[in-house]
Protein backbone atom coordinates (compact mmCIF):
# COMPACT_ATOMS: atom_id res chain seq x y z
CA UNK A 1 0.00 0.00 0.00
CA UNK A 2 1.43 3.35 -1.04
CA UNK A 3 1.79 6.32 1.24
CA UNK A 4 -0.70 9.16 1.11
CA UNK A 5 0.09 12.06 -1.18
CA UNK A 6 1.63 15.01 0.63
CA UNK A 7 3.04 17.58 -1.76
CA UNK A 8 1.42 18.90 -4.92
CA UNK A 9 2.55 16.68 -7.75
CA UNK A 10 2.49 13.45 -5.74
CA UNK A 11 0.17 10.91 -7.33
CA UNK A 12 -3.13 10.82 -5.42
CA UNK A 13 -5.23 8.65 -7.73
CA UNK A 14 -3.78 5.73 -9.61
CA UNK A 15 -6.05 3.74 -11.90
CA UNK A 16 -4.58 0.61 -13.37
CA UNK A 17 -6.03 -1.93 -15.80
CA UNK A 18 -9.59 -0.95 -14.96
CA UNK A 19 -12.23 -2.99 -16.79
CA UNK A 20 -15.94 -2.89 -16.29
CA UNK A 21 -18.84 -4.66 -17.91
CA UNK A 22 -22.58 -4.08 -17.74
CA UNK A 23 -23.60 -7.68 -18.43
CA UNK A 24 -22.00 -8.41 -21.81
CA UNK A 25 -21.29 -4.80 -22.69
CA UNK A 26 -17.84 -3.57 -21.81
CA UNK A 27 -18.06 0.06 -20.64
CA UNK A 28 -14.45 0.51 -19.52
CA UNK A 29 -11.50 -1.07 -21.33
CA UNK A 30 -8.08 -1.22 -19.68
CA UNK A 31 -8.21 2.26 -18.24
CA UNK A 32 -4.94 3.57 -16.86
CA UNK A 33 -4.77 7.07 -15.42
CA UNK A 34 -2.75 8.81 -12.76
CA UNK A 35 -3.87 12.05 -11.16
CA UNK A 36 -1.48 14.08 -9.04
CA UNK A 37 -2.32 16.15 -6.01
CA UNK A 38 -3.54 19.56 -7.14
CA UNK A 39 -4.02 18.43 -10.72
CA UNK A 40 -7.15 19.42 -12.67
CA UNK A 41 -8.28 16.78 -15.12
CA UNK A 42 -11.11 17.32 -17.57
CA UNK A 43 -12.63 14.22 -19.09
CA UNK A 44 -14.62 14.58 -22.29
CA UNK A 45 -15.96 12.34 -24.98
CA UNK A 46 -19.18 11.39 -26.74
CA UNK A 47 -22.10 10.18 -24.65
CA UNK A 48 -21.80 6.53 -23.78
CA UNK A 49 -18.02 6.67 -23.88
CA UNK A 50 -17.74 5.62 -20.21
CA UNK A 51 -16.53 8.94 -18.78
CA UNK A 52 -19.21 9.19 -16.06
CA UNK A 53 -18.79 5.51 -15.25
CA UNK A 54 -15.05 6.07 -14.84
CA UNK A 55 -15.36 8.80 -12.21
CA UNK A 56 -18.20 6.94 -10.48
CA UNK A 57 -15.79 4.03 -10.03
CA UNK A 58 -13.35 6.31 -8.20
CA UNK A 59 -15.65 6.73 -5.21
CA UNK A 60 -17.16 3.33 -5.75
CA UNK A 61 -20.67 4.39 -6.72
CA UNK A 62 -20.03 1.80 -9.43
CA UNK A 63 -18.28 -1.48 -8.87
CA UNK A 64 -15.93 -2.95 -11.42
CA UNK A 65 -14.74 -6.42 -12.36
CA UNK A 66 -11.03 -6.04 -13.11
CA UNK A 67 -8.20 -3.74 -12.20
CA UNK A 68 -7.47 -1.49 -9.23
CA UNK A 69 -8.00 2.09 -8.20
CA UNK A 70 -5.78 3.57 -5.54
CA UNK A 71 -7.00 6.75 -3.91
CA UNK A 72 -4.64 8.50 -1.53
CA UNK A 73 -2.90 5.29 -0.61
CA UNK A 74 -6.05 3.20 -0.24
CA UNK A 75 -6.73 0.56 -2.82
CA UNK A 76 -10.18 -0.16 -4.16
CA UNK A 77 -10.61 -3.51 -5.80
CA UNK A 78 -13.76 -5.30 -6.85
CA UNK A 79 -14.98 -5.74 -3.26
CA UNK A 80 -16.15 -3.25 -0.68
CA UNK A 81 -13.03 -2.81 1.44
CA UNK A 82 -11.77 0.75 1.91
CA UNK A 83 -14.92 2.23 0.37
CA UNK A 84 -15.72 4.35 3.43
CA UNK A 85 -12.12 5.54 3.73
CA UNK A 86 -12.00 6.53 0.07
CA UNK A 87 -15.36 8.31 0.19
CA UNK A 88 -14.11 10.44 3.06
CA UNK A 89 -11.39 11.83 0.78
CA UNK A 90 -13.48 12.18 -2.37
CA UNK A 91 -16.33 14.64 -2.90
CA UNK A 92 -18.77 14.25 -5.74
CA UNK A 93 -21.01 16.70 -7.59
CA UNK A 94 -23.78 15.25 -9.73
CA UNK A 95 -25.44 16.35 -12.93
CA UNK A 96 -28.84 16.46 -11.22
CA UNK A 97 -27.46 18.08 -8.01
CA UNK A 98 -29.12 15.38 -5.85
CA UNK A 99 -29.72 17.71 -2.93
CA UNK A 100 -31.96 16.35 -0.19
CA UNK A 101 -35.26 18.10 -1.01
CA UNK A 102 -36.80 17.67 2.45
CA UNK A 103 -34.00 19.48 4.28
CA UNK A 104 -32.95 23.10 4.36
CA UNK A 105 -29.76 24.09 2.60
CA UNK A 106 -28.00 24.32 5.96
CA UNK A 107 -29.14 20.84 6.97
CA UNK A 108 -28.02 19.48 3.59
CA UNK A 109 -24.58 20.81 4.40
CA UNK A 110 -24.35 19.72 8.02
CA UNK A 111 -25.74 16.18 7.72
CA UNK A 112 -22.55 14.61 6.36
CA UNK A 113 -20.12 16.38 8.71
CA UNK A 114 -22.29 15.61 11.75
CA UNK A 115 -23.10 11.98 10.96
CA UNK A 116 -20.06 10.81 9.01
CA UNK A 117 -17.39 13.03 10.57
CA UNK A 118 -18.85 13.30 14.05
CA UNK A 119 -18.74 17.11 14.22
CA UNK A 120 -20.96 18.94 16.68
CA UNK A 121 -23.88 20.89 15.25
CA UNK A 122 -22.19 24.16 16.08
CA UNK A 123 -18.94 23.35 14.31
CA UNK A 124 -20.80 21.79 11.37
CA UNK A 125 -22.96 24.89 10.97
CA UNK A 126 -19.99 27.21 11.12
CA UNK A 127 -18.32 25.14 8.45
CA UNK A 128 -21.50 25.08 6.36
CA UNK A 129 -21.82 28.86 6.48
CA UNK A 130 -18.17 29.22 5.57
CA UNK A 131 -18.61 27.15 2.41
CA UNK A 132 -21.91 28.80 1.52
CA UNK A 133 -20.01 32.06 1.67
CA UNK A 134 -17.42 30.57 -0.60
CA UNK A 135 -19.99 29.54 -3.24
CA UNK A 136 -21.53 33.02 -2.78
CA UNK A 137 -24.98 32.12 -1.47
CA UNK A 138 -24.78 32.60 2.30
CA UNK A 139 -28.27 34.13 2.36
CA UNK A 140 -29.93 30.89 1.17
CA UNK A 141 -29.01 28.81 4.23
CA UNK A 142 -32.55 28.44 5.54
CA UNK A 143 -34.29 27.83 2.23
CA UNK A 144 -35.20 24.45 0.80
CA UNK A 145 -33.49 23.27 -2.40
CA UNK A 146 -36.74 23.54 -4.35
CA UNK A 147 -36.79 27.28 -3.72
CA UNK A 148 -33.46 27.84 -5.43
CA UNK A 149 -32.52 28.16 -9.09
CA UNK A 150 -30.64 25.33 -10.76
CA UNK A 151 -27.36 27.21 -10.61
CA UNK A 152 -27.82 27.95 -6.92
CA UNK A 153 -28.73 24.32 -6.25
CA UNK A 154 -25.57 23.13 -7.94
CA UNK A 155 -23.49 25.58 -5.91
CA UNK A 156 -25.15 24.25 -2.74
CA UNK A 157 -24.23 20.76 -3.92
CA UNK A 158 -20.61 21.86 -4.36
CA UNK A 159 -20.66 23.40 -0.88
CA UNK A 160 -22.15 20.18 0.52
CA UNK A 161 -19.20 18.23 -0.86
CA UNK A 162 -16.70 20.79 0.38
CA UNK A 163 -18.11 20.55 3.91
CA UNK A 164 -16.64 17.05 4.07
CA UNK A 165 -13.25 18.69 3.33
CA UNK A 166 -12.28 16.18 0.66
CA UNK A 167 -8.84 16.08 -0.94
CA UNK A 168 -10.32 15.29 -4.34
CA UNK A 169 -13.47 16.54 -6.03
CA UNK A 170 -15.26 14.68 -8.79
CA UNK A 171 -17.72 16.52 -11.04
CA UNK A 172 -20.09 14.47 -13.18
CA UNK A 173 -21.35 16.82 -15.91
CA UNK A 174 -22.09 19.53 -13.35
CA UNK A 175 -23.55 22.01 -15.83
CA UNK A 176 -25.41 19.69 -18.18
CA UNK A 177 -28.75 20.06 -16.41
CA UNK A 178 -28.55 23.86 -16.16
CA UNK A 179 -30.08 26.62 -18.22
CA UNK A 180 -27.40 28.46 -20.22
CA UNK A 181 -27.49 31.61 -18.10
CA UNK A 182 -26.68 29.60 -14.97
CA UNK A 183 -23.76 27.65 -16.34
CA UNK A 184 -21.32 30.53 -15.82
CA UNK A 185 -22.01 30.91 -12.09
CA UNK A 186 -21.29 27.23 -11.50
CA UNK A 187 -18.17 27.26 -13.67
CA UNK A 188 -16.92 30.37 -11.84
CA UNK A 189 -17.25 28.50 -8.56
CA UNK A 190 -15.31 25.59 -10.00
CA UNK A 191 -12.59 27.86 -11.37
CA UNK A 192 -12.12 29.38 -7.91
CA UNK A 193 -11.90 25.93 -6.43
CA UNK A 194 -9.26 25.02 -9.00
CA UNK A 195 -7.32 28.19 -8.25
CA UNK A 196 -7.25 27.23 -4.58
CA UNK A 197 -5.41 24.04 -5.55
CA UNK A 198 -8.18 21.44 -5.23
CA UNK A 199 -7.53 18.19 -7.04
CA UNK A 200 -10.40 17.86 -9.51
CA UNK A 201 -11.64 15.43 -12.10
CA UNK A 202 -14.37 17.04 -14.16
CA UNK A 203 -16.50 15.28 -16.73
CA UNK A 204 -17.85 18.06 -18.92
CA UNK A 205 -18.46 19.31 -22.42
CA UNK A 206 -17.50 22.86 -21.44
CA UNK A 207 -14.36 23.16 -23.56
CA UNK A 208 -13.82 26.75 -22.48
CA UNK A 209 -13.52 25.54 -18.89
CA UNK A 210 -11.11 22.82 -20.01
CA UNK A 211 -8.92 25.35 -21.81
CA UNK A 212 -8.92 27.68 -18.85
CA UNK A 213 -8.28 25.40 -15.87
CA UNK A 214 -7.31 21.89 -16.96
CA UNK A 215 -3.80 20.59 -16.54
CA UNK A 216 -4.78 17.52 -18.50
CA UNK A 217 -7.63 16.86 -20.89
CA UNK A 218 -8.63 13.24 -21.28
CA UNK A 219 -10.62 12.13 -24.30
CA UNK A 220 -12.60 8.91 -23.98
CA UNK A 221 -14.44 6.98 -26.64
CA UNK A 222 -16.09 3.56 -26.50
CA UNK A 223 -14.76 2.80 -23.03
CA UNK A 224 -11.14 3.65 -23.77
CA UNK A 225 -8.91 6.59 -23.00
CA UNK A 226 -8.00 7.68 -26.51
CA UNK A 227 -5.64 10.41 -25.42
CA UNK A 228 -4.62 12.55 -22.49
CA UNK A 229 -2.76 15.79 -23.07
CA UNK A 230 -2.34 19.29 -21.70
CA UNK A 231 -5.11 21.50 -23.11
CA UNK A 232 -2.88 23.52 -25.45
CA UNK A 233 -1.73 20.37 -27.23
CA UNK A 234 -5.13 18.71 -26.94
CA UNK A 235 -6.98 21.47 -28.73
CA UNK A 236 -4.23 22.53 -31.15
CA UNK A 237 -2.83 19.18 -32.17
CA UNK A 238 -4.90 16.17 -31.14
CA UNK A 239 -3.04 12.96 -31.82
CA UNK A 240 -5.99 10.79 -32.71
CA UNK A 241 -8.48 11.09 -35.55
CA UNK A 242 -11.30 10.24 -33.18
CA UNK A 243 -10.38 13.20 -30.97
CA UNK A 244 -10.18 15.49 -33.97
CA UNK A 245 -13.62 14.42 -35.18
CA UNK A 246 -15.11 14.87 -31.73
CA UNK A 247 -13.64 18.35 -31.35
CA UNK A 248 -14.83 19.35 -34.80
CA UNK A 249 -18.32 18.27 -33.93
CA UNK A 250 -18.59 20.00 -30.56
CA UNK A 251 -16.64 23.15 -31.46
CA UNK A 252 -18.43 23.79 -34.77
CA UNK A 253 -20.95 26.13 -33.12
Amino acid sequence: MAATAEAPGDPVIRIDGLNKWFDDFQVLKDIALTVNLGERVVVCGPSGSGKSTLIRCINRLEGFQKGAIEVDGKTLTGDLRNVAAVRREVGMVFQQFNLFPHMTVLRNLTLGPMRARGLSRKVAEERARHYLERVRIPEQADKFPGQLSGGQQQRVAIARSLCMEPRIMLFDEPTSALDPEMIAEVLDTMVELAEDGMTMIVVTHEMGFARKVADTVVFMDQGEIVEAQPPEAFFAAPKSDRTRQFLQRILSY
Partner: protein
Protein backbone atom coordinates in the same frame (compact mmCIF):
# COMPACT_ATOMS: atom_id res chain seq x y z
CA UNK B 1 -66.14 18.66 10.42
CA UNK B 2 -67.27 16.87 7.27
CA UNK B 3 -66.59 13.59 9.05
CA UNK B 4 -69.01 14.33 11.83
CA UNK B 5 -71.64 15.28 9.28
CA UNK B 6 -71.20 11.98 7.45
CA UNK B 7 -71.59 10.16 10.72
CA UNK B 8 -74.81 11.98 11.55
CA UNK B 9 -76.25 11.21 8.13
CA UNK B 10 -75.41 7.54 8.49
CA UNK B 11 -76.83 7.33 11.98
CA UNK B 12 -80.01 9.04 10.81
CA UNK B 13 -80.22 6.60 7.91
CA UNK B 14 -79.93 3.68 10.29
CA UNK B 15 -82.74 4.98 12.47
CA UNK B 16 -84.86 5.77 9.44
CA UNK B 17 -84.29 2.24 8.25
CA UNK B 18 -85.46 1.05 11.61
CA UNK B 19 -88.69 2.93 11.17
CA UNK B 20 -89.40 1.98 7.56
CA UNK B 21 -88.36 -1.62 7.37
CA UNK B 22 -91.18 -2.89 9.51
CA UNK B 23 -88.63 -4.85 11.51
CA UNK B 24 -89.31 -5.07 15.14
CA UNK B 25 -86.42 -2.99 16.55
CA UNK B 26 -85.60 -3.22 20.20
CA UNK B 27 -82.99 -0.62 20.96
CA UNK B 28 -83.80 -1.09 24.64
CA UNK B 29 -81.00 -3.72 24.79
CA UNK B 30 -78.43 -0.98 24.65
CA UNK B 31 -80.48 1.96 25.78
CA UNK B 32 -78.41 4.17 28.07
CA UNK B 33 -81.64 5.01 29.92
CA UNK B 34 -82.01 1.69 31.66
CA UNK B 35 -79.66 -0.05 34.04
CA UNK B 36 -79.48 -3.20 31.89
CA UNK B 37 -79.08 -1.23 28.68
CA UNK B 38 -76.23 0.77 30.14
CA UNK B 39 -74.53 -2.43 31.27
CA UNK B 40 -74.87 -3.94 27.80
CA UNK B 41 -73.63 -0.78 26.15
CA UNK B 42 -70.53 -0.67 28.33
CA UNK B 43 -70.01 -4.37 27.71
CA UNK B 44 -69.99 -3.78 23.93
CA UNK B 45 -67.74 -0.72 24.17
CA UNK B 46 -65.39 -2.74 26.38
CA UNK B 47 -64.31 -4.56 23.22
CA UNK B 48 -62.77 -1.35 21.89
CA UNK B 49 -59.70 -1.81 24.03
CA UNK B 50 -58.92 -5.21 22.53
CA UNK B 51 -59.60 -4.14 18.95
CA UNK B 52 -57.54 -0.96 19.20
CA UNK B 53 -54.63 -2.54 21.05
CA UNK B 54 -54.52 -5.49 18.68
CA UNK B 55 -54.61 -3.27 15.59
CA UNK B 56 -52.03 -0.76 16.81
CA UNK B 57 -49.54 -3.33 18.07
CA UNK B 58 -49.89 -5.56 15.00
CA UNK B 59 -49.57 -2.60 12.67
CA UNK B 60 -46.51 -1.21 14.44
CA UNK B 61 -44.79 -4.59 14.22
CA UNK B 62 -45.91 -4.99 10.61
CA UNK B 63 -44.45 -1.58 9.66
CA UNK B 64 -41.02 -2.47 11.06
CA UNK B 65 -41.12 -5.99 9.58
CA UNK B 66 -42.39 -4.73 6.24
CA UNK B 67 -39.60 -2.16 6.03
CA UNK B 68 -36.94 -4.72 6.89
CA UNK B 69 -38.36 -7.21 4.40
CA UNK B 70 -38.40 -4.56 1.66
CA UNK B 71 -34.69 -3.80 2.07
CA UNK B 72 -33.25 -6.97 0.50
CA UNK B 73 -35.52 -6.47 -2.50
CA UNK B 74 -34.05 -3.00 -2.98
CA UNK B 75 -30.42 -3.35 -2.00
CA UNK B 76 -29.77 -7.09 -1.90
CA UNK B 77 -28.08 -9.43 -4.31
CA UNK B 78 -29.96 -12.21 -6.05
CA UNK B 79 -30.21 -14.65 -3.07
CA UNK B 80 -31.37 -11.87 -0.74
CA UNK B 81 -34.00 -10.77 -3.23
CA UNK B 82 -35.17 -14.36 -3.29
CA UNK B 83 -35.55 -14.25 0.50
CA UNK B 84 -37.84 -11.24 0.07
CA UNK B 85 -40.03 -13.10 -2.45
CA UNK B 86 -40.09 -16.21 -0.26
CA UNK B 87 -41.48 -14.12 2.57
CA UNK B 88 -43.85 -11.87 0.70
CA UNK B 89 -45.57 -14.34 -1.59
CA UNK B 90 -46.74 -16.94 0.98
CA UNK B 91 -47.84 -14.42 3.59
CA UNK B 92 -49.63 -12.34 1.01
CA UNK B 93 -51.34 -15.47 -0.29
CA UNK B 94 -52.45 -16.78 3.13
CA UNK B 95 -55.94 -15.61 4.09
CA UNK B 96 -55.68 -13.76 7.40
CA UNK B 97 -58.35 -15.96 8.98
CA UNK B 98 -56.43 -19.12 8.07
CA UNK B 99 -53.19 -17.62 9.37
CA UNK B 100 -54.88 -16.75 12.68
CA UNK B 101 -56.20 -20.28 13.07
CA UNK B 102 -52.86 -21.75 12.11
CA UNK B 103 -50.87 -19.66 14.57
CA UNK B 104 -53.35 -20.39 17.37
CA UNK B 105 -53.89 -24.09 16.76
CA UNK B 106 -50.91 -25.11 14.63
CA UNK B 107 -47.97 -23.38 16.27
CA UNK B 108 -48.33 -25.25 19.59
CA UNK B 109 -48.13 -28.55 17.70
CA UNK B 110 -45.27 -27.66 15.40
CA UNK B 111 -43.04 -25.60 17.68
CA UNK B 112 -44.55 -26.23 21.09
CA UNK B 113 -45.34 -22.52 21.41
CA UNK B 114 -48.77 -21.89 22.87
CA UNK B 115 -49.82 -18.29 22.46
CA UNK B 116 -52.78 -16.58 24.08
CA UNK B 117 -55.48 -15.39 21.72
CA UNK B 118 -54.21 -11.80 21.79
CA UNK B 119 -50.60 -12.74 21.11
CA UNK B 120 -51.60 -15.20 18.40
CA UNK B 121 -53.69 -12.48 16.80
CA UNK B 122 -50.79 -10.04 16.87
CA UNK B 123 -48.43 -12.59 15.32
CA UNK B 124 -50.86 -13.60 12.56
CA UNK B 125 -51.99 -10.09 11.66
CA UNK B 126 -48.46 -8.66 11.78
CA UNK B 127 -47.14 -11.41 9.50
CA UNK B 128 -50.00 -11.06 7.06
CA UNK B 129 -49.84 -7.27 7.02
CA UNK B 130 -46.05 -7.04 6.81
CA UNK B 131 -46.09 -8.76 3.43
CA UNK B 132 -48.33 -6.03 2.02
CA UNK B 133 -46.39 -3.27 3.74
CA UNK B 134 -43.12 -4.65 2.36
CA UNK B 135 -44.44 -4.10 -1.14
CA UNK B 136 -45.59 -0.58 -0.28
CA UNK B 137 -42.21 0.29 1.25
CA UNK B 138 -40.43 -1.16 -1.76
CA UNK B 139 -42.41 1.01 -4.16
CA UNK B 140 -42.05 4.08 -1.93
CA UNK B 141 -38.30 3.76 -1.50
CA UNK B 142 -37.85 3.05 -5.19
CA UNK B 143 -39.73 6.24 -6.01
CA UNK B 144 -37.19 8.32 -4.08
CA UNK B 145 -34.63 7.57 -6.76
CA UNK B 146 -31.02 6.43 -7.05
CA UNK B 147 -29.69 10.00 -7.01
CA UNK B 148 -30.55 10.39 -3.32
CA UNK B 149 -28.84 7.10 -2.48
CA UNK B 150 -25.75 8.14 -4.37
CA UNK B 151 -25.59 11.59 -2.81
CA UNK B 152 -25.88 10.06 0.66
CA UNK B 153 -23.21 7.48 -0.16
CA UNK B 154 -20.93 10.15 -1.59
CA UNK B 155 -20.95 12.18 1.65
CA UNK B 156 -20.07 9.03 3.53
CA UNK B 157 -23.30 8.29 5.40
CA UNK B 158 -23.70 4.77 6.77
CA UNK B 159 -26.54 2.71 5.37
CA UNK B 160 -28.62 3.24 8.51
CA UNK B 161 -28.08 7.01 8.47
CA UNK B 162 -28.89 7.16 4.78
CA UNK B 163 -32.18 5.36 5.38
CA UNK B 164 -33.15 7.31 8.46
CA UNK B 165 -32.23 10.84 7.39
CA UNK B 166 -32.48 10.78 3.61
CA UNK B 167 -34.56 7.97 2.13
CA UNK B 168 -37.29 7.19 4.67
CA UNK B 169 -38.51 10.76 5.29
CA UNK B 170 -39.08 11.14 1.57
CA UNK B 171 -40.53 7.66 1.09
CA UNK B 172 -42.96 7.92 4.03
CA UNK B 173 -44.45 11.12 2.61
CA UNK B 174 -45.29 9.30 -0.59
CA UNK B 175 -46.62 6.10 0.97
CA UNK B 176 -48.71 7.71 3.68
CA UNK B 177 -52.04 7.27 1.82
CA UNK B 178 -51.52 3.54 1.15
CA UNK B 179 -50.23 3.09 4.71
CA UNK B 180 -53.42 4.65 6.05
CA UNK B 181 -55.43 2.38 3.81
CA UNK B 182 -53.60 -0.68 5.10
CA UNK B 183 -54.24 0.37 8.67
CA UNK B 184 -57.97 0.63 8.03
CA UNK B 185 -57.88 -2.75 6.36
CA UNK B 186 -56.01 -4.18 9.33
CA UNK B 187 -58.47 -2.70 11.81
CA UNK B 188 -61.25 -4.56 10.04
CA UNK B 189 -59.20 -7.75 9.78
CA UNK B 190 -58.78 -7.67 13.55
CA UNK B 191 -62.45 -8.71 13.76
CA UNK B 192 -61.36 -12.18 12.62
CA UNK B 193 -59.44 -12.71 15.83
CA UNK B 194 -62.76 -13.14 17.61
CA UNK B 195 -62.84 -16.70 16.23
CA UNK B 196 -60.05 -17.72 18.61
CA UNK B 197 -61.79 -15.98 21.49
CA UNK B 198 -60.03 -12.62 21.67
CA UNK B 199 -62.23 -10.15 23.55
CA UNK B 200 -62.61 -7.63 20.74
CA UNK B 201 -65.65 -5.72 19.50
CA UNK B 202 -67.02 -8.68 17.56
CA UNK B 203 -66.56 -11.17 20.35
CA UNK B 204 -68.39 -8.89 22.78
CA UNK B 205 -71.21 -8.43 20.29
CA UNK B 206 -71.52 -12.17 19.75
CA UNK B 207 -71.64 -12.78 23.49
CA UNK B 208 -74.36 -10.20 23.97
CA UNK B 209 -76.41 -11.61 21.09
CA UNK B 210 -76.26 -15.03 22.71
CA UNK B 211 -77.68 -13.73 25.96
CA UNK B 212 -80.10 -11.06 24.69
CA UNK B 213 -81.31 -12.44 21.35
CA UNK B 214 -81.19 -9.01 19.67
CA UNK B 215 -78.75 -9.57 16.78
CA UNK B 216 -80.17 -6.74 14.62
CA UNK B 217 -79.54 -3.99 17.18
CA UNK B 218 -76.25 -5.39 18.46
CA UNK B 219 -74.74 -5.90 15.02
CA UNK B 220 -76.01 -2.53 13.81
CA UNK B 221 -74.29 -0.98 16.79
CA UNK B 222 -71.18 -3.03 15.98
CA UNK B 223 -71.12 -1.64 12.44
CA UNK B 224 -71.36 1.87 13.83
CA UNK B 225 -68.51 1.18 16.23
CA UNK B 226 -66.24 0.22 13.33
CA UNK B 227 -67.45 3.17 11.31
CA UNK B 228 -66.53 5.61 14.06
CA UNK B 229 -63.14 4.00 14.60
CA UNK B 230 -62.31 4.15 10.93
CA UNK B 231 -63.51 7.74 10.57
CA UNK B 232 -61.08 8.61 13.35
CA UNK B 233 -58.29 6.81 11.52
CA UNK B 234 -59.05 8.55 8.22
CA UNK B 235 -59.16 11.91 9.96
CA UNK B 236 -55.77 11.16 11.51
CA UNK B 237 -54.25 10.12 8.21
CA UNK B 238 -55.64 13.18 6.48
CA UNK B 239 -54.24 15.41 9.19
CA UNK B 240 -50.80 13.83 8.75
CA UNK B 241 -51.00 14.19 4.98
CA UNK B 242 -51.97 17.83 5.27
CA UNK B 243 -49.17 18.47 7.71
CA UNK B 244 -46.64 16.84 5.41
CA UNK B 245 -48.03 18.59 2.36
CA UNK B 246 -47.57 21.94 4.02
CA UNK B 247 -43.97 20.99 4.90
CA UNK B 248 -43.61 19.96 1.30
CA UNK B 249 -45.04 23.20 -0.01
CA UNK B 250 -42.52 25.02 2.09
CA UNK B 251 -39.78 22.92 0.52
CA UNK B 252 -40.87 23.35 -3.12
Amino acid sequence: MARLRTLCVLAAAAILLAGCSGANWGWYVISPETEAGRRNLLFLLGGLKGTIALSLISFAIAVVLGFLIALPALYGNRPLRAVNRLYVEPFRAAPALVLILWVYYGLPVVLGIRLEAFAAGVVALALSESAFLAEIFRAGIQSVGRGQDEAADAIGLTFADKMWFVILPQAIRRILPPLGNQFVYMLKMSALVSVIGMEDLVRRANELVTSEYRPLEVYTFLLLEYLVLILFVSAGVRWLERKMRSDERQSR
